[in-house]
Symmetry: C2
Subunit: 495 residues, 2 copies
């Protein structure tokens, strides 16, 4: 179990993964802000940490995986403070904020299901943990690391930085951070430009508001993750994940908050996935190249030449190592679509292959090649979860499988033992570790129509005394668990 190495942003090194309470692993991922429909930038961390979750389970660990939903809060971007995205969007759509949040949360969850992302053990929301956040802010204040101004509370970064390395994770220097800050909304209240909001006083028109010891307001963006991760995973826990764009200020602030409130580090391993670019450009609203999940699956976007299924998107993401930039283009996605089909077809073919032992066919070299390819799946995953290399190995194995099917190569050139190992490993890695599978591409009424058609074809064949065809239909259906029942009112079917 302990040969897995993960790149730790905190140390800038690939480290052997040793959980605190093996076989239990605690993992937290900063989930989406549900002020709009999820886009490609939300998919990548979800899939990346799904792979970690799946691989840890494959290795035998018991994972408590917490992925939050940011459904409220004050948003600070680097150097400036922005407004509450959730409340603003709700005002635009003339909806009660929670009604909008529910809609986008449902869309996100549905997308995750379609992408075959395993559901987290706990999916806490920011609005669902206001008490916990207020409590944590009280604790930080009582220790002297936060101060109240006009009903808002700020974290005192300067005081924190005197004894702690604020900026260690993101590799920034506190002096530069201060110099880089601009004087904007709320800045006047801060003792120091680098300080960040823990609680914001709510102006009268603000829709989302809660009573607090400092008057009615709403939590800052960073505090939710410190409050929820320590509540459900303790401190420190094993793995904290997120996109690289969250390194600063979000994760840096989390570390500071938890250190003061709980007196401990947040997590032992900080893992960050790289960004998605569109034809080499950063994806952003201002460039108009943000693509939502439903646009991807409908093909309804200027940059898209066709629709791409959720499973194609998943495969596309896995083709690049998570710490590399993932560049979106139609060419790569079309290739991913084909690659995915080829891999799943190889999996089906492998299941149908019958192993025939013929001693004289055995070829030690061939057997070694296959065994090495099998081993390489684990080797690549253990090397900082290199799914790109795992896919390369699975494709080489697919070529072998196709050769056996076409009888270009004899299956008995490898030993039965190797064949059995291949069968298990190929399935484990395709289905369980990488989470790739066939998709539902037709709806249930189509299914009924297809069955009606097959039943009609069988009836015609029987009338023509073409029993080869009628038996073929019945037997093939039986093989996949569909039973035909001939009755007075015609033929019915069931599973």
């Amino acid at each position: 179990m302990n040969s897995l190495k993960i790149y730790n942003t905190l140390t800038r090194e690939k480290e052997i993964f040793n959980p605190i309470h093996s076989p239990y692993v605690g993992m937290y991922l900063c989930g989406p802000t549900v002020s709009g429909e999820s886009h490609l930038g939300h998919i990548r961390p979800a899939v990346t940490f799904d792979i970690i979750n799946r691989y840890l389970k494959y290795l035998g660990y018991i994972v408590r995986y917490v992925r939050n939903i940011t459904d409220a809060g004050h948003f600070e971007e680097e150097g400036r403070e922005s407004q509450d995205k959730v409340a603003n969007k709700a005002r635009l759509e003339q909806l009660e904020p929670m009604e909008m949040v529910t809609r986008y949360t449902n869309l996100y969850r549905d997308a995750m299901d379609k992408l075959n992302v395993l559901r987290p053990s706990i999916e806490p929301t920011a609005t669902g943990h206001i008490v916990e956040q207020i409590n944590m802010i009280e604790d930080i204040m009582s220790k002297g690391f936060a101060y109240e101004v006009n009903g808002s509370v700020y974290f005192d970064v300067t005081r924190y930085a005197q004894e702690n390395d604020y900026g260690r994770l993101s590799g920034r220097k506190i002096g530069e951070m201060i110099a880089g800050s601009r004087e904007l909304e709320g800045q006047g209240e801060k003792r120091n430009p680098a300080d960040f909001a823990l609680w914001k006083n709510a102006p009268p028109e603000h829709l989302m508001r809660w009573r607090s010891p400092w008057g009615e307001g709403f939590p800052g963006w960073h505090i939710e993750c410190s409050a929820m991760s320590s509540k459900y995973l303790g401190a420190p826990f094993d793995i904290h994940g997120g996109g690289m764009d969250l390194l600063f200020p979000h994760h840096e602030s989390e570390i500071a908050q938890t250190k003061i409130a709980v007196g401990k580090p947040v997590a032992n391993y900080w893992v960050h996935n790289n960004m998605i670019t569109i034809k080499g450009q950063k994806m952003s609203k201002s460039l108009g190249n943000t693509i939502t999940i439903s646009q991807m699956t409908d093909g309804n976007h200027l940059l898209l030449e066709q629709a791409y299924s959720p499973m194609t998107l998943r495969f596309f993401i896995l083709q690049t190592h998570y710490r590399s930039t993932l560049d979106f283009s139609n060419e790569v996605l079309m290739a991913a679509e084909k690659g995915l089909q080829r891999l799943l077809q190889a999996q089906r073919t492998l299941k149908d292959l019958a192993y025939n032992e013929v001693d004289s066919d055995f070829n030690q070299e061939e057997d070694n090649i296959v065994k090495q390819l099998i081993d390489s799946c684990t080797v690549h995953m253990n090397d900082d979860l290199n799914t790109a290399m795992v896919l390369a190995s699975l494709f080489e194995l697919s070529s072998k499988i196709y050769s056996w099917q076409n009888a270009q190569l004899k299956i008995s050139s490898i030993s039965r033992e190797t064949f059995v190992l291949l069968l298990k490993t190929f399935n484990d890695f395709v289905s369980d570790v990488l989470g790739l599978k066939d998709e539902i591409t037709v709806d249930d009424s189509k299914m009924n129509e297809l069955m009606d058609l097959l039943i009609a074809l069988r009836k015609e064949a029987r009338e023509k005394k073409d029993f080869h065809t009628s038996d073929k239909i019945r037997d093939n259906l039986k093989k996949i668990g569909i039973q035909l029942k001939d009755g007075k009112e015609g033929t019915t079917w069931g599973v």
Copy 2:
């Protein structure tokens, strides 16, 4: 829009439904307690209020539908206080309570999707609204209707009953309620046995706990619904729903809490569905006749002779008026399975029927019968949502549809106008109002296998120059949106 009548438990009368801010309607349903897997008793209210939600939308109303998830809290049953179900179950399963809650919430949501229950606009949780509950308790205390003892807070029912009709909804007398109470856990702290807990002090071993002005504790069961309904729907809102078992103490307590805290009634219409019995007996854990949703759909329960699909369950529920007892038996469920298929088949048949106008066939009496059946769907729904009678009308219409298909009766015996109206009404009521539809009974890999089979059959037919069959396959697939593409590597398909 205003000819809908709903039975109001508060007045014991069918009343014309007049929303406060038409066309907007606010509706709240007490959702499940997620301390275990959902059972038949959870399905009935969900389906009943889904029907109200759907019918209100059909009538043109814009509904904000709030259905909560009870994932924490102290449970009081009549006459005695029980322990926190969620925390107890979590201890049994050795899980963090929220991990267990997440699992059962997911199971419930998945079941609702399969039952084709439309998702609520907002799905708030008790743990997600601790601040709101604490605030409401503070408000009630400040008005003198609640008192603290040893870190727990109780609602003062005696004082409330002096000026308010406590017991009006459930038809109970306060004196009887007191006489019926037993001296149990927590009773010693109460000034009066009829008082109920708003907040409970958490003993040290209690897992779910929050800081409050009265020390660490957890909310009473009733307060969550008052806090969440008034937050998202205001007070009063239009419709408050739930099972009849919630009349007392839950809904009675909600009314009292909101009256004091907000100064207003909870809702104008209180709607309650009746209970489910199993072969005439009340369903309860102690009788061992509780059937969970997955047991129903797997057929894995001693009382079940076979598995029943979610849509069969839905149909079964709709066959009885929501205010009548619904008695579960295998016979009725098997009949429901057949009835559902007959109705959906009639819907498909109707879509395929071509109307041929032949003046001489027109039969005024026949036309009147069909028009009356069409009208009766709305009439029955307007009469306190009588889905049982709507289904009866749809079945009479189905008989007509089958007669037209079998040419026993001429379709032109009714006018084209009536036919067009029938087409719309039948679809609207089956699909949109009653929410009945074909189910997904086979998974996607089966779908692939079916297509492989059809493609193989087509290939064989073409080789035999049986173009009737090969064309039939291609044309039928095309009709349902599946395109075949012949290429170098064989035939592929897409939708």
